[in-house]
C-alpha cells in the first residue's frame, strides 16, 4: 500500500547504496537469527500463557555466492549460530535474574526456515544450483536455495510473501478503463490484487500448493442493482491491496472503489453458461475489502415480525424512539469508558419510556409539555432549566383549574377515547409526570423539580378534595401498597380514604398506578440514624463504639 511504500523508501534511503566490503551475508544472517530469539510484541504479551506455542521463524537471505560450497558453509554457519543461540536461551539465568529482569528473555527457536536466494546478474553464469528444502540439525532448521536472475527477484519475493502471510492473489480481469491518452476510447485492463487466502476458500476446495501460487482469475461484472457496498455478502471481509501499487490500472480500480462504488466479480467461463457471482469488492472507511458471495443463509425466510410477540400492536412510538436513537448516536471518542458513558446515557433516556402511544398521555401532548420532557432526561439541570420545567407544570396547573384539556394536541385516534372525563385525564397526566420525574430524581435539581410537582398536585387536589390528595399520597408513597391489578371495583374517585382501601379508589385504567406503586429507592424512608441526628451528620454504628468502650 502506498503509505507503506513511502515508509519503505524512506527507510531504504537511510540505508543508502551498497557499499563494498560492508558486513556481508554472515553478519546479517547472525543478526537475523538473534532477532528470531527476541520475543515479538505478540509473543511478549502472551509469554505467560503460550508456552506451548512454538517459536518458529523464517529468514530470507538474499546473497550472491560463488558456488554451492559457499552456500553450504553459509547454511552451516546459520545452524551453528542457531544452536549457540538456543543454548544461550535455554540455560536458566538465575545468577543474572535480579538485574536482568528488565531485558526480555530470549526465546528458544524451535524451527527456522532459511531461504537463501542466490541472485546472479543477467548475463553471468552461476555455479549455484537450486536446492529443495532440506532439514538440518535434526529438524531445527530447513534450508532451501533458490537461484534467480536479478530481474526476476521482485517476482520471486512476491511469491515468497504469499505463503508466509497466508495470502493469495486474484486477477480481476476485464476492467473497462478510459485510455490515458485518448479519453474517448476505453480498453479492458487486468489488475492483480492480494488478500487473505481465506477469501478463496470456496474456489479452491482442494488445491495443490502449485495451484495456490497462481492467481485466481475473476471477471469484472457489475450486474444491475448490485450496488450497495459489501452488504450482499454475509460472511467475513478481507483487506485487499493491489499487487502493483503504483500502476495506472491499479490506481484506477482503487479510486473507483474509494469513491464508494462496489463491484461484483464472477467466475469466468462456467460450464453451462450461467453466470455466478463469486466475490464483491468494496471500500469501507478508506480501505478496500473483498468478500465472498454465494450460498444461502441459514436465517433466510425469517418468520414475520407481525406474527411474533408484539407484532399486532400498531401504535408503537416509533418516531419518538427514532429521536431517542438520534440522541444516543455513537461517535468515535478517545479513551476508555466511552461505552459505559453511552450506556448510562441510554439508561437515563429510557427510564420512563412507554412503548406505545396508547399507554401514555404526556408524551402525546407535544408542545404543552415541551421543554420538560426533553430536559428531564439530562444528567443534571441548571437553574434556568428547572424554571422552564416549573413553568410547564404551572401552565398545566392553570389549564386544569380552568377545566381545560389540550385535546387538540392528542393524536386523532386518542381524542375520541379521551373525550370522557377530563378529571380522569388530568389525573393520568399528573401520575405520569410524577413517574417521569421520580424516575430521574438522581440530581438535586431534579429533586427540586419533583418537589414543585408534588406541590402542584397537592395544591390542585386540596382545592378539589382533601381526601383524594391524601389517597394519592398514600398510594404513591407506600412501597408496600398493593398494585391495583385490574379490580375496578370502586371506580369513582374519593369513595374511600386511607391507604388500605387505596387500590379500590382507582379506575380500571391503572397502568400508571401499577408503575408508581413499585418500590422506589428515592422514596424509601430515611435512614433512622439520620432522622435522629437531625441537621447534624449522622454517626454510623454508634453502638459498636459504645461496646468497645464498655469492654475497656
Amino acid at each position: 500500500m502506498f503509505s507503506n511504500l513511502t515508509h519503505l523508501l524512506n527507510g531504504l534511503s537511510l540505508v543508502g547504496p551498497v557499499r563494498r566490503g560492508a558486513g556481508g551475508d554472515v553478519v546479517g544472517l547472525v543478526a537475523a537469527i538473534e532477532s528470531l530469539s527476541e520475543a515479538s510484541p505478540i509473543q511478549a504479551s502472551n509469554s505467560q500463557t503460550d508456552r506451548l506455542v512454538q517459536n518458529r521463524g523464517r529468514i530470507i537471505c538474499i546473497t550472491s555466492a560463488r558456488d554451492d560450497d559457499s552456500i553450504t558453509s553459509l547454511a552451516g554457519i546459520a545452524l551453528n549460530t542457531l544452536i549457540q543461540q538456543n543454548k544461550k536461551a535455554s540455560t536458566p539465568q538465575p545468577p543474572a535474574s535480579p538485574n536482568a529482569s528488565n531485558t526480555p528473555p530470549s526465546l528458544v527457536i524451535h524451527y527456522c526456515h532459511l531461504v537463501i536466494i542466490n541472485v546472479a546478474p543477467e548475463k553471468v553464469d552461476t555455479r549455484v544450483t537450486n536446492q529443495p528444502l532440506t532439514e538440518m540439525g535434526g529438524g531445527l532448521m530447513g534450508v532451501e536455495v533458490i537461484v534467480t536472475r536479478a530481474s526476476a527477484l521482485a517476482n520471486l519475493l512476491g511469491q515468497l510473501v504469499l505463503p508466509h502471510y497466508r495470502l493469495a492473489t486474484t486477477t480481476v480481469t476485464g476492467i473497462p478503463m478510459k485510455e490515458e491518452q485518448n479519453a474517448s476510447s476505453s480498453a479492458n485492463y487486468d489488475v492483480e490484487i492480494i488478500h487473505s487466502i481465506e477469501a478463496h476458500a470456496g474456489l479452491r476446495a482442494s488445491q495443490t500448493p502449485a495451484e495456490a501460487a497462481e492467481s485466481v482469475v475473476l471477471r469484472w461484472w457489475t450486474p444491475r442493482g448490485a450496488e450497495g457496498g459489501a452488504s450482499s455478502c454475509s460472511g467475513p471481509l478481507w483487506r485487499v491491496t493491489p499487487s502493483d501499487v503504483a500502476s495506472r490500472p491499479s490506481a484506477c480500480l482503487v479510486n473507483f472503489l474509494l469513491n464508494g462504488r462496489s463491484v461484483t466479480l464472477e467466475v469466468p467461463s462456467r460450464k453451462g453458461g450461467g453466470r455466478s457471482a463469486s466475490h464483491v469488492l468494496a471500500a469501507q472507511g478508506g480501505e478496500l475489502w473483498i468478500g465472498a458471495l454465494g450460498g444461502r443463509t441459514p436465517y433466510d425466510d425469517p418468520p414475520a415480525l407481525s406474527e411474533g410477540a408484539g407484532g399486532r400492536v400498531t401504535d408503537y412510538r416509533i418516531k419518538e424512539f427514532g429521536a431517542l436513537m438520534q440522541l444516543n448516536r455513537l461517535g468515535p471518542l478517545r479513551g476508555s469508558a466511552a461505552n459505559g458513558r453511552a450506556r448510562t446515557r441510554l439508561q437515563r433516556h429510557t427510564t420512563y419510556w412507554p412503548l406505545t402511544i396508547s399507554s401514555t398521555l404526556i408524551f402525546n401532548l407535544g408542545s404543552v409539555m415541551d421543554p420538560l420532557t426533553r430536559l428531564v432526561v439530562q444528567e443534571s439541570l441548571t437553574e434556568e432549566e428547572v424554571d422552564a420545567c416549573r413553568s410547564v407544570l404551572l401552565s398545566l396547573l392553570g389549564m386544569e383549574t380552568r377545566h381545560e384539556f389540550p385535546t387538540s394536541q392528542l393524536p386523532s385516534n386518542m381524542r375520541g377515547k379521551s373525550s370522557g372525563r377530563r378529571e380522569e385525564l388530568w389525573r393520568q397526566v399528573w401520575c405520569e409526570l410524577e413517574a417521569l420525574i421520580r424516575a430521574h430524581s438522581a440530581s438535586s435539581a431534579h429533586r427540586a423539580l419533583l418537589r414543585v410537582l408534588l406541590e402542584c398536585r397537592a395544591h390542585n387536589h386540596s382545592s378539589d378534595s382533601e381526601s383524594r390528595a391524601s389517597v394519592i399520597r398514600a398510594t404513591t408513597d407506600s412501597p408496600l401498597s398493593p398494585v391495583g391489578a385490574g379490580n375496578g371495583a370502586g371506580a369513582g374517585a374519593g369513595t374511600a380514604a386511607g391507604a388500605g382501601a387505596a387500590s379500590e379508589v382507582w379506575a380500571p385504567r391503572n397502568v400508571l398506578e401499577a408503575l408508581l406503586a413499585g418500590p422506589r429507592p428515592s422514596r424509601r424512608p430515611d435512614f433512622a440514624g439520620r432522622m435522629a441526628a437531625g441537621s447534624r451528620p449522622a454517626v454510623l454504628y454508634q453502638h459498636l463504639q459504645q461496646d468497645v468502650e464498655a469492654q475497656h
Binding site: A292, T297, P298, V313, G322
Partner: protein
C-alpha cells in the same frame, strides 16, 4: 445451523434386534427412523427454523429430501425407504459435501448426523483404506455426530470406532474455519441396543447441539427476551486461546447510521426473534416488582385483559419498536455481547421478500478492532461529547491516497513507464517544464532510496540525447532546460542527497516570451 441426516440404509440395517424382551419386531432401520422422528419432533418445538436434509446411503447415496423446514416431508419419506446394499461412508460424505456446497456454500457451518449400524462394511485393511479416502476435512465448517445403532459391546463397533473417531477429528479441523472453531461432534453410542437407549442417545444430541438460545436484549431500561437463531457458537479468536461465549444479556450501547456502519465484518449473523408464548408470563412476574416502570410487559400488566394477555402478539414488545425505529431512521444499534465483544443489530430484509423484514444481529470478531472504520469499539461513546473532528469513518493509517508521488518498480514495465513519462514531458517543453521536473524529482527520490544511481546517469544521457535531437525551430529554452536537467541529475555535489530537489533553470526566457 443446517443439518444433514445421513442415514445408512445398507442391508445390515435391516437386521432385526436379537433381544427377546420385546414382542415387537424392531429392526435397526426402524429404530433409526423412530430416532429421526424424535429428532424432528424436538426441532419442531425448539428450532423450527432449522433446515434439515435427509441423505440415505449404502454403496451409493441419494438426497432423499433436500434442505427444508417442512419436517413432515422428511417424516413421510422415512416410511418409504428402500433397502440398499453395503455401507460405504466415504461415498456418502462426498455426496454430502456436494449437497452442502451447492446449497450453503462454504461459509455456513453445518451439522451432520450420521446414523449407521456400527459396521464399517470392511475388514481392517478396507477400513484403513476408507480412512485414507475420507473426503475430509470438508471445505465448509462442519460438526459431525455419529449415532451407531449397535450394542456398545459389539465387536464390530470396536472395529469401526477408529473410523468414526477419524471422521470426527477430521471434520473438526475444517480448512475454512475462519469464523472461529466450532465445538466438536462426537460418537453418541446408545447404552444398549434398545429403542429407548437409542432415543436417549438422540436426545443427548438434541440437548447438546440443538439448544435454542435465549437472551435478553437490553436498551437502557427497556428490555425484552429474544431468541437468537441460529444459536450462536462459542468463538475462539484466532491464535488467542481465550474463547468467547455470548452473554445472556445483550446491551445496546448506542446507535449509528447505517451509512457509518457499512457492512460489519460478521463472523455470524443471527435473527433476533422476540419471545413468544413460553416464559412470557414468567418475564412479567420478574418485572413486576422492579423499579423500572416502563419495561415492556409490566406496562401491560394491569391494562390488558386476560384475553389480550393470552395473545402475545398484542402485548407491546420492545423488539418490534426497535425494528421499526431502526428501519425508519436507517440506523444500526451497536450492542455489547460480552467482554471485549461487540455486534450490530439492524433491520434486515431479504432482497427477495422486501416486505418481510426482521432484526438481524451481526456478531463481529471478538476484540476492539473488529470494525476498523468505527475506531476502537470500546471507545464508541455519545456522539455529542465528541469534538466535530471525530467522525466516521475513522481513517485507517493504511491509505491508498497519495500514490502518485511514489514509484514501485516491482515489475520491469513499471520502471519503463516512469522513464517514458519523463521523456514524454521532455519532448513537450517548454509547456511541460514543471511536469518534467516533478517527474524527475519523483524518479530521483526513488532511485536514491533504492541505491539505483545508475538510473540517474542513464536518464541524464537520455535527456542529452533529447536535447541533441531537438528540431531547429524549437525555442532556445528547451535546450537550456534539458541540459540543465541532465547536468543537475548527475551533479556529484547533490548526487545522493535525497532532500535535494531539482529546480527548473531560472531564466528570463519565459518572461520575454510572455511579453511578446
Amino acid at each position: 445451523m443446517p443439518t444433514v441426516i445421513l442415514l445408512d440404509i445398507s442391508l445390515s440395517m435391516s437386521r432385526p434386534l436379537a433381544s427377546s424382551e420385546t414382542t415387537e419386531n424392531h429392526t435397526r432401520i426402524s429404530i433409526a427412523t423412530t430416532a429421526i422422528n424424535a429428532f424432528l419432533d424436538y426441532l419442531a418445538i425448539h428450532a423450527k427454523l432449522e433446515y434439515v436434509a435427509l441423505v440415505c446411503f449404502s454403496s451409493g447415496y441419494e438426497v432423499s429430501v433436500s434442505f427444508t423446514r417442512d419436517f413432515d416431508s422428511i417424516k413421510s419419506k422415512l416410511t418409504q425407504l428402500d433397502e440398499g446394499d453395503k455401507t460405504c461412508i466415504e461415498t456418502a460424505l462426498l455426496g454430502v459435501n456436494q449437497l452442502i456446497l451447492g446449497e450453503w456454500g462454504y461459509q455456513t457451518p453445518v451439522q451432520i448426523i450420521l446414523i449407521t449400524d456400527g459396521t464399517c462394511g470392511t475388514g481392517p485393511i478396507g477400513r484403513n483404506r476408507i480412512i485414507q479416502a475420507l473426503p475430509l476435512p470438508p471445505p465448509y465448517p462442519a460438526k459431525i455426530h455419529i449415532l451407531p445403532i449397535v450394542s456398545p459391546h459389539d465387536s464390530c463397533l470396536q472395529h469401526a470406532m477408529p473410523l468414526y473417531q477419524k471422521i470426527i477429528d477430521l471434520s473438526a479441523n475444517a480448512s475454512n474455519n475462519s469464523s472461529g472453531t466450532l465445538s466438536r461432534g462426537a460418537v453418541y453410542c446408545p447404552e444398549h441396543l434398545t429403542m429407548t437407549a437409542v432415543l436417549s442417545a438422540m436426545n443427548r444430541i438434541c440437548e447438546q447441539h440443538y439448544q435454542e438460545f435465549w437472551c435478553t436484549l437490553k436498551c437502557g431500561q427497556l428490555e425484552t427476551r429474544v431468541q437468537l437463531f441460529p444459536a450462536p457458537q462459542t468463538v475462539s479468536h484466532e491464535g488467542v486461546t481465550a474463547t468467547y461465549t455470548l452473554a445472556h444479556q445483550i446491551h445496546v450501547v448506542g446507535f449509528i447510521t447505517q451509512q457509518d456502519m457499512g457492512t460489519p465484518i460478521a463472523i455470524s449473523k443471527h435473527l433476533v426473534i422476540p419471545q413468544t408464548q413460553s416464559g412470557n408470563n414468567h418475564n412479567n412476574r420478574e418485572n413486576y416488582g422492579s423499579k423500572t416502570p416502563s419495561k415492556d410487559g409490566s406496562g401491560t400488566e394491569g391494562s390488558t385483559t386476560d384475553e389480550d394477555m393470552s395473545d402475545p402478539s398484542k402485548v407491546p414488545n420492545f423488539c418490534v419498536l426497535l425494528h421499526g425505529a431502526l428501519k425508519v431512521e436507517g440506523m444500526s444499534a451497536i450492542v455489547q455481547l460480552g467482554a471485549e465483544w461487540w455486534g450490530a443489530v439492524s433491520a434486515w430484509c431479504e432482497p427477495s421478500r422486501t416486505r418481510r423484514s426482521c432484526l438481524l444481529l451481526s456478531v463481529m470478531r471478538p476484540g476492539v478492532s473488529a470494525a476498523p472504520w468505527l475506531g476502537p469499539l470500546d471507545q464508541l461513546g455519545p456522539a455529542e461529547e465528541g469534538s466535530p473532528s471525530e467522525t466516521f469513518p475513522v481513517r485507517a493509517w493504511r491509505s491508498y491516497s497519495g500514490g502518485g508521488s511514489n514509484c514501485a518498480w516491482a515489475r520491469p514495465h513499471a520502471l519503463l513507464a516512469d522513464v517514458q513519462k519523463v521523456l514524454r514531458h521532455a519532448r513537450k517543453l517548454p509547456d511541460k517544464t514543471q511536469h518534467l521536473y516533478k517527474e524527475l524529482n519523483r524518479l530521483r527520490r526513488a532511485a536514491i532510496s533504492l541505491g539505483f544511481s545508475e538510473l540517474l546517469t542513464c536518464v541524464g544521457s537520455a535527456l542529452e540525447r533529447e536535447c541533441a535531437a531537438l528540431p531547429n525551430n524549437s525555442p532556445p529554452e528547451c535546450a537550456l532546460q534539458l541540459a540543465h536537467a541532465a547536468a543537475a541529475l548527475r551533479d556529484p555535489r547533490t548526487a545522493l542527497d535525497i532532500k535535494h530537489t531539482l529546480q527548473p533553470l531560472a531564466s528570463n526566457f519565459t518572461v520575454t516570451s510572455m511579453s511578446h
